[in-house]
C-alpha cells in the first residue's frame, strides 16, 4: 500500500512536470497569440491591452502559477481563439478520441487473445514459421499506411466509405461508431500482431516449464493444462503489454485522426499548437498525459503483482 501511495505521488509529479514542460514550450516557440487574435493591422496599444486582459504581461513564473492554481480548482480557462471556455470545447472532443481509443483497444484485446492462444498452441514447425512471418508482415505496415489503404480500398475502390463524412456522437451513436470502425482497425491491426506475437511466445515459454511436464506426466491433457495453468501465467506479461498499448493508442490516434479527418482532441491539439492557443494546448496536454501516466501506473502495478521479484528498494 505504501508503494502505491508513493507511486501515486510520482504520478502527480509527472503531471506537474508535463504541464511545466508545455508552459516552457510556449515560452520558447515564436508566435504571439495576440498577433493571431488581432491581426497584423492592430496597434501596439491594442495588443498590449489584450495581453494585459489575458494575463500575458506578467512574469513567466507567476503566469504559470496562475494557470496552475486555476487548473487545480477545475478552471481550465478560456480559449484565446474561440473565446469560449476550454472545458466546454473539450467536453465535445474528448468523448470522440476516447471512443476511438476504446474501440481500438477492445478490438485489439478481443481479436488478439484468442488468436494468440490459438497461435501459441499450434506446435508444428510450418505453423510456427507461417504465424511468425505473418506477424512480422502485419507489424511492418505502419498504422498510417493502413489508414490510407483503407480509405483507398473502402472509399475509392469499393465506394462504401467516405472520408470526412464523420457524424458526431451527439447526432447519432451508431453513425459515429460506424465511421470509427475503419480508423479503429487501422490502429488495432499492428497492435494485434504485436500482442499475438507476445502472447504466443509467452505461452510457448510457459509450456516448456517443469510444472507443465509434471502435469502432463500425470496424464492431464493438453487443453486442460493450457486453460487451467498455462494461460493464467502466460497472460500476465500480456496484460502489462496491453496496458502500455492503451496509453500508446491514445497518443497514436493523432495521426489516424488526421488521416480519417476525425474532429477529435488530437486535431484540436494540432490546430491549437499552431494557433498558439495556450489554455487549450495546456489542458489537452495535461489530460492526455494524465491518461498515459495513469495507465502506465496501472501497468506498473500489474507488473509488480505479476513478478514479485521486482520490488522497490
Amino acid at each position: 500500500m505504501k508503494n502505491i501511495a508513493k507511486k501515486f505521488l510520482t504520478l502527480i509529479i509527472t503531471l506537474f512536470i508535463v504541464s511545466l514542460l508545455a508552459f516552457l514550450a510556449f515560452q520558447v516557440i515564436p508566435g504571439d497569440p495576440t498577433t493571431k487574435m488581432l491581426g497584423t493591422e492592430a496597434t501596439e496599444e491594442a495588443k498590449a491591452a489584450l495581453r494585459a486582459e489575458l494575463g500575458l504581461d506578467g512574469p513567466a513564473l507567476s503566469r504559470y502559477w496562475n494557470w496552475l492554481t486555476a487548473f487545480v480548482t477545475g478552471d481550465m480557462g478560456t480559449s484565446y481563439s474561440y473565446r469560449m471556455p476550454v472545458a466546454e470545447m473539450l467536453s465535445d472532443k474528448l468523448p470522440i478520441t476516447f471512443l476511438l481509443s476504446v474501440m481500438s483497444f477492445v478490438l485489439t484485446v478481443v481479436v488478439s487473445i484468442p488468436l494468440g492462444i490459438w497461435a501459441g498452441s499450434a506446435k508444428s514447425k510450418a505453423a510456427d514459421v507461417a504465424i511468425s512471418a505473418l506477424d512480422q508482415m502485419v507489424m511492418s505496415v505502419p498504422p498510417f499506411f493502413i489508414g490510407i489503404l483503407a480509405t483507398w480500398i473502402f472509399g475509392t475502390v469499393l465506394n462504401v466509405f467516405s472520408t470526412g463524412s464523420f457524424i458526431s456522437y451527439t447526432e447519432s451513436w451508431s453513425g459515429c461508431i460506424g465511421y470509427l470502425i475503419l480508423p479503429a482497425c487501422s490502429i488495432a491491426i499492428p497492435r494485434i500482431a504485436m500482442t499475438v506475437r507476445m502472447l504466443r511466445s509467452s505461452i510457448i515459454a510457459e509450456l516448456q516449464k517443469d510444472y507443465v511436464r509434471t502435469a502432463r506426466s500425470r496424464g492431464a491433457d493438453r487443453g486442460q493444462i493450457l486453460s487451467r495453468h498455462v494461460l493464467k501465467n502466460a497472460l500476465i506479461p500480456v496484460i502489462t503489454f496491453l496496458a502500455v498499448s492503451a496509453a500508446e493508442i491514445m497518443t497514436g490516434s493523432i495521426i489516424i485522426e488526421r488521416v480519417f479527418a476525425i474532429p477529435g482532441v488530437s486535431q484540436l491539439l494540432m490546430t491549437s499548437i499552431s494557433g498558439r492557443d495556450f489554455p487549450v494546448v495546456q489542458a489537452i496536454v495535461v489530460i492526455l498525459a494524465a491518461w498515459i501516466v495513469i495507465v502506465n501506473f496501472a501497468a506498473d502495478i500489474l507488473y509488480r503483482l505479476a513478478d514479485p521479484r521486482i520490488r522497490v528498494r
Binding site: 493571431k36 497584423t40 467516405s162 470526412g164 463524412s165 480519417f260 479527418a261 474532429p263 486535431q267 484540436l268
Partner: protein, 515 residues
C-alpha cells in the same frame, strides 16, 4: 493533412476603398466533369445549403475584432454597416436607406432605414448606430478604419438622419463606414454569440465540426432565399474534398486545379480569382537582394507560365506588380510581361552584379497554405537552372507572423497579399519607405514621391495614372519577384444558382437559390 488546409494566408491589409471601381473577379463557367457518369443529385433539394470550409472560425466573432479572412468570409452574411459592398465593388445602401455626399466631399448624410431588425428581435435605432460608430472607433483592430473614423469632425443625429462632417475630404471614407457594422447597443456577447442585421443570423456552432446560420426572416430587403446554411468544417483539404466528392456538400470554394480535375460528381465548377498578389517577397536589407540587378535576375530566372502549368494546369493570372486584375483600371497587364523568362539574361545580370556562379538563400514559406508551398517548390527548381540555390523552410503561420512579418528575419518568403476592400492604397501603401508594414524594407524615393502625390490628387484619372506609375516603379526596380493571382475554383451543386464572385474575400449566401 494539416498543411493542406486552405487557411487564409492573406494579410488583412487595409480597410479602405475607392468607391468607383466597377470590377469583379472574372466569372466563367468551366464545363468541368460534364462527361462524368456518376451523378448523385436528383430530386428536390431541401431549401438549405451545406457548405464545406477548410478552416474553423477560430477567432472572436465580434466583427470589429475578428481579422481572419475565413471568419470575415462567413460573417459577411451576418453583419452589415450603413452601406455594404456589392459584387461589383460598389457600395450599396444597407442599414441606411439613403446616402448623400456633399459636393465638397466633407458632409455625409445617412438616412436610417425603417424597419431594420436585429437578429435578437430588437429594432435598430439611431442609438445603436451611434453606439456602433463609437465602439468601432474604440475597438476595431483595423487601424485604417480607426484612422478614417478619427477624421470625423462632427456627428449629429436628428431623428433617423445621421450627418457626419469630415475635417478633410477622404475618398475612402465610405469604405470605412461599410466596416462599421451595426450592432445592438450594449450587447456584450458578440465574440461568441454574434447579433447583427444581415440576411442570416447565427444559430449555433460546434468547434471544428460545424457553424450554422439561419435565414433572418425579419430582414428588411429581399433577404436570403435559402432557409439555412450549415458550414461543415474540415481542418484538412483532403477530407473536405472527399466529402465534396461523395456529394454531401452543396458548395465548396477555394479548390485547387488538382481537386477540380478529380471531382467525379456532377458539380458545376466556377472559376474566379483569389484576389491576391503572390510573389517571392525579397528582404532588401539582406545581401544580395539589396542589389537591383540580382532581383531582376531572379525575375528573369523564373518562368511563371511553366509554374502555372505545373501547379494549376495553367490557371491563374500573372500579375507583374503589386496589383491584381480585379482592380480593373489600376491593373496594368503589360507589367506582367516585363520580365519574360530568359535564363541567359538572368545569368548575365548575375554576372554584372558579381555573382557569376549564383548564390544560395532560404525561402521561408507558411506551411498551412499548400498552393504557396507548391509554387515555391517549382520556383526553387527553376532557380536551380541559373545556378541559384534556394532552400525551402516551411514555418507555421504564427511563426511567420512574428519572425518574418514583424521580425523581418528572412531572405525571401512566398505569400500572397490581399486587400480587404478595393482601394489601390490597400496594396500600395506598404511599400512606402517608412511604412511599418513594409516588411521587405523597400526604399525608393521616386516611389514615395509618386505615392504621396497620388494620395493628394483629387482628380480620379490623374490619381489612377499616378498609382499606375507606382506599379511601374515596383516592376522596374524588381521590388519583388511577382508571380500570380491564384485561380479560385468553386464547386456548386448543379441545381444551386446565383453564386457571385466578389472582388473581396467573402461569399454571399443570400443570392443563392435552388432551381
Amino acid at each position: 493533412m494539416m498543411k493542406k488546409r486552405i487557411l487564409a494566408v492573406f494579410l488583412v491589409v487595409s480597410v479602405l476603398a475607392g468607391s468607383l471601381c466597377g470590377c469583379a473577379g472574372a466569372t466563367n463557367q468551366t464545363g468541368a466533369s460534364s462527361d462524368e457518369t456518376t451523378d448523385s443529385f436528383g430530386g428536390i433539394h431541401a431549401n438549405e445549403i451545406t457548405v464545406g470550409i477548410s478552416q474553423d472560425l477560430d477567432n472572436s466573432l465580434d466583427p470589429y475584432v475578428s481579422n481572419a479572412a475565413g471568419t470575415r468570409e462567413v460573417m459577411f452574411n451576418v453583419f452589415e454597416g450603413l452601406v455594404k459592398p456589392d459584387s461589383d465593388g460598389n457600395f450599396v445602401e444597407a442599414v441606411a436607406s439613403n446616402v448623400e455626399i456633399s459636393s465638397d466631399g466633407l458632409t455625409y448624410t445617412f438616412t436610417l432605414r425603417e424597419g431594420v431588425v436585429f437578429h435578437n428581435g430588437d429594432e435598430c435605432t439611431m442609438d445603436d448606430v451611434l453606439y456602433s460608430f463609437e465602439t468601432c472607433a474604440a475597438t476595431s483592430v483595423y487601424s485604417n478604419v480607426v484612422a478614417a473614423l478619427s477624421g470625423i469632425a462632427e456627428k449629429t443625429a436628428d431623428g433617423s438622419v445621421l450627418t457626419v462632417t469630415l475635417s478633410e475630404p477622404n475618398s475612402d471614407f465610405l469604405s470605412a463606414v461599410s466596416s462599421v457594422f451595426i450592432l445592438p447597443e450594449g450587447y456584450a456577447d458578440q465574440a461568441t454569440k454574434p447579433v447583427g442585421t444581415g440576411p442570416f443570423k447565427y444559430v449555433s456552432r460546434s468547434v471544428q465540426e460545424n457553424f450554422i446560420l439561419e435565414r433572418h426572416d425579419a430582414y428588411y430587403g429581399e433577404g436570403a432565399k435559402v432557409d439555412k446554411v450549415t458550414y461543415k468544417i474540415y481542418e484538412d483539404s483532403t477530407a473536405l474534398f472527399n466529402a465534396l466528392d461523395s456529394g454531401s456538400l452543396d458548395l465548396v470554394a477555394h479548390l485547387t486545379m488538382d481537386q477540380v480535375n478529380n471531382l467525379s460528381n456532377g458539380y458545376a465548377v466556377l472559376e474566379g480569382t483569389m484576389n491576391l498578389v503572390q510573389a517571392i517577397y525579397l528582404n532588401h536589407a539582406v545581401a544580395p537582394f539589396d542589389n537591383e540587378k540580382v532581383r531582376q535576375a531572379l525575375c528573369y530566372a523564373i518562368d511563371v507560365d511553366a509554374m502555372l502549368n505545373l501547379t494549376a494546369d495553367g490557371h491563374g493570372t500573372r500579375v507583374g506588380s503589386s496589383m491584381y486584375p480585379a482592380f480593373g483600371k489600376y491593373f496594368d497587364a503589360s507589367l506582367a510581361e516585363a520580365y519574360l523568362h530568359d535564363a541567359q539574361k538572368a545569368k548575365q545580370l548575375l554576372t554584372e552584379a558579381g555573382y557569376p556562379d549564383g548564390f544560395s538563400f532560404t525561402i521561408k514559406v507558411p506551411s498551412n497554405y499548400q498552393p504557396h508551398v507548391d509554387t515555391t517548390v517549382v520556383l526553387v527548381e527553376q532557380l536551380k537552372q541559373v545556378g541559384i540555390t534556394a532552400e525551402i523552410q516551411q514555418i507555421d503561420w504564427n511563426t511567420w507572423l512574428e519572425d518574418v512579418y514583424a521580425g523581418r528575419n528572412f531572405d525571401a518568403t512566398v505569400v500572397g497579399f490581399d486587400a480587404s476592400i478595393l482601394s489601390p492604397t490597400a496594396l500600395l501603401a506598404r511599400w512606402v519607405s517608412d511604412s511599418s508594414k513594409n516588411m521587405i524594407g523597400y526604399s525608393n524615393e521616386e516611389y514615395d514621391e509618386v505615392y504621396a502625390k497620388a494620395l493628394a490628387t483629387v482628380d480620379d484619372a490623374e490619381q489612377t495614372e499616378l498609382f499606375k506609375r507606382c506599379l511601374e516603379i515596383l516592376s522596374e526596380t524588381a521590388a519583388n519577384v511577382y508571380t500570380q493571382d491564384l485561380a479560385d475554383f468553386v464547386a456548386v451543386h448543379p441545381q444551386l444558382k446565383g453564386f457571385e464572385f466578389y472582388p473581396l474575400y467573402v461569399i454571399d449566401m443570400s443570392t443563392l437559390y435552388f432551381e
